[in-house]
Symmetry: D2
Subunit: 283 residues, 4 copies
Amino acid sequence: MASTLHHNAYGKSAIRLTKVLRGPHRHELAELSVDILLEGNFAESYLRGDNRQVIATDSMKNTVYVLAKENNFESIEDFAILLCRHFRSTYSQVETAMVSISQTRWDRIQVKDQPHPHAFVAGGSERRTCQARIEANAASAALTGGIAGLQVLKTTDSEFSDFVSDRYRTLKDTRDRIFATSVDADWSYAAGKADFGACFVSIRAALLTTFATHHSLAVQQTLLAMGEAALSACPAIQSIDLKMPNQHRIPFNLEPFGIKNDNEIFVPFDEPFGMITGVVTRA
Amino acid sequence: MASTLHHNAYGKSAIRLTKVLRGPHRHELAELSVDILLEGNFAESYLRGDNRQVIATDSMKNTVYVLAKENNFESIEDFAILLCRHFRSTYSQVETAMVSISQTRWDRIQVKDQPHPHAFVAGGSERRTCQARIEANAASAALTGGIAGLQVLKTTDSEFSDFVSDRYRTLKDTRDRIFATSVDADWSYAAGKADFGACFVSIRAALLTTFATHHSLAVQQTLLAMGEAALSACPAIQSIDLKMPNQHRIPFNLEPFGIKNDNEIFVPFDEPFGMITGVVTRA
Amino acid sequence: MASTLHHNAYGKSAIRLTKVLRGPHRHELAELSVDILLEGNFAESYLRGDNRQVIATDSMKNTVYVLAKENNFESIEDFAILLCRHFRSTYSQVETAMVSISQTRWDRIQVKDQPHPHAFVAGGSERRTCQARIEANAASAALTGGIAGLQVLKTTDSEFSDFVSDRYRTLKDTRDRIFATSVDADWSYAAGKADFGACFVSIRAALLTTFATHHSLAVQQTLLAMGEAALSACPAIQSIDLKMPNQHRIPFNLEPFGIKNDNEIFVPFDEPFGMITGVVTRA
Amino acid sequence: MASTLHHNAYGKSAIRLTKVLRGPHRHELAELSVDILLEGNFAESYLRGDNRQVIATDSMKNTVYVLAKENNFESIEDFAILLCRHFRSTYSQVETAMVSISQTRWDRIQVKDQPHPHAFVAGGSERRTCQARIEANAASAALTGGIAGLQVLKTTDSEFSDFVSDRYRTLKDTRDRIFATSVDADWSYAAGKADFGACFVSIRAALLTTFATHHSLAVQQTLLAMGEAALSACPAIQSIDLKMPNQHRIPFNLEPFGIKNDNEIFVPFDEPFGMITGVVTRA
């Protein structure tokens, strides 16, 4: 019929990997979830079920474990680039390779105030993330690092007032509210090489410190301040993309019970949530 | 510092709405989750915490309920366009308005083989979806309809063989495997007006019928066939974007127990999963 | 130290199985998740790490797939009893064996109004469930069947009024509200043998019909009526345990916008939810 | 018909509360989810829809917020007892009151190595939990404290061998494996009063330290050691109930690729999982 395969891509998602580096004095632990997506000369599989150009997604999965074993990498960014390069250099039919990695946070258990050499406790919902992408004619990978699900809350130093008043407004101005969000940030590296681990640590610290200390007139304003702080903290990045859902804590109305709620008793709501986004770039 | 707010957008997500139309003989039920995202002249809020141009996301939420009450709409597509137009026409600072809606499926309970006038049973994980977007200088909305989470499985008529053989391959050729997927499809309407409900019904039927009857040499091939069938079924759409994760059912190895597994006993895996995507357009 | 291992039990959970019966004209499909829990003479493993009495949970997993292959069973109830008996008769150290099974609902895809012989579409969040338990000196298994996550909603024929009025009440009496719930029901079979499939079908129909047609003065009252209907529908069961969360749809307050909400516009809330439970037994 | 309401209970679940104590120098934050379940003289509601004895679950919700405001409590245990007593003393129709509370962990953000006075970062999936229950003729509450979702992993010092060998076994003996689990622990307090906060801290530390330092011959053995350590760490508790799912990390088979896997490369599986449980009591 009169139709065309306009675009296609395929890959393997959620390839979960635990890698242990068994040093003489302590073990290093990395737990990753890897997504691979390839574009290229795969149309015959769609058009005729001819799979001769198709790298099975099961083979992609195997590749992740084999390359994880055969290579030392210091960061998920390094591993993502390595995987992209592998798919591009091994298979001529691959034009664009994209690899996304998410890393679970594990902290060492403290035993007698010392970090234990091989026992860990999970550090929460936050994930370190990255994405590498090498396009058809690209000299190098486009690379982002990131953090996802960094859950923060401040009980004061947050206002929201003087916004549009019209028929649809019922929210009152407030000079003191709870500000809670789950920060998703993706930052783009100017070059394919940097001290990715140090960048992650300094950007995370900048995001947390700015969130804590910024006097917020709007989530928007704090988002921009956090983005600026991240750019200051890590010269290797060129821009940062921030998504900050406003996870509302609404004061519970205690008036029907003859009590005053002095900003002490709140109801957390998951839905609906405000969604504030912005991209901050180096000028 | 030397940084710039390069892009910004904000809105309200997961505004959940139940609307009941109380007809004389039977009730109509719609349960929706609405996401709104606005772009426009909002930089002052980011830069200075000056919120005078900001429509509170709480007001967006109110707007959804008010407009749901004041308007009859026959489909989520109509409601999404209506909301986009409202934000664009009411607030001069809004340049681009984007509204995404997801609708829960409810089927009428059968009582004595008759559909009940006001009692419903949930129809599964599948969602009817849509997205409307009106850009700054656009004459009309860009509109997609869709379905998300349409879970299907066939126990045979699915092959996968003759794919790339190299060091990383361990998967064998198979002439008969289980094919399970959760179809996500988004189709774009050529014009802002169509019988969206009839399109949804005919596209859903085309996707299901093609999945069931297509002899599959690859998920890729079935995806294309399903896309072509959808385009045939509904002349009002211009293209369809399909995402079909390969939700693997792996034959359990019964050999260690001295039994042969004649394609009868499988282990379902959620992770990892293959991800096959394609966009099919009218030629 | 002065402590005692007071109780212990262990097993394997979430053993997922897809079984296909490949008949000449059509295929039967069952997708199950099986949990096994054993009690018995396992204390040495806890006390000294002596595992000689321990059946590895990995072996339990293998057992599920092997017995699924080697046995024809018509229902999850039959398979659960079979597994319990296996563990009790194979291992003398096992005193109590408990097996719980949850089955995903798959409906045949309709092609030209005919059910397809081997293609299926997922039938939603509802699960058919069962639990078999054989205790140390028991002659036979204690057996329950059940349904979980049966999501239903009615837009009218539901009241709630004349409840306790005191300082803590703010909810008004209502003569017409939405009633939505996700029914979890477990029914106990009087004997270890019955037509479990027919019972499931008739109990499910009785629950749905009663939910739809009962004029509800309280969720509690409807729960009892549904329990009574289930007992009437299936003589083989002795009692039924019902859990019905009240999944609130709260009328959205349209007064600030100068509109009246004639029971048409509601906000669904997941949290908090009422939880109404009751056990109904044959007198 | 010939049926009886054998048992009934109802209440409100997932009442989410944020409480802020606004001290002069720093704020204290507590985020809780409260479940209330009542038993008593409520049969008329089930039998006839007569709700005169029914405390609306909406009123229970209000009660949580009102009592949270009117009372200072140092721990979720204190608040749970207070709520149980309230329902029992306020309503003569209440026989048994049960209150379960789950508390989210929030850690203070470190700014210049100092804990910030009012900004917090989420401390992961672990929850502090408790349950209070006052029965009909009880002088005092039965009380448990607990921790849920304490995710831990050790990369070595874990064995599993010499377990039952038979037809269903394929797992090999191992002298060195990864041991990962998500600890759920509930401990019962001997009396209704103790320093609940100090107990939680010392029990959590005992669980973590023992997990890290115990040389494990079986999950069962480590579970018992952890239970004993908890009883030693907190004299106020009488017993501890531990549930430790074995969250398997399976060595990836690298042999097909001509490489040896020296316990470095693993696949994490969520399903199926072993489930090891035990109750340890003071002798």
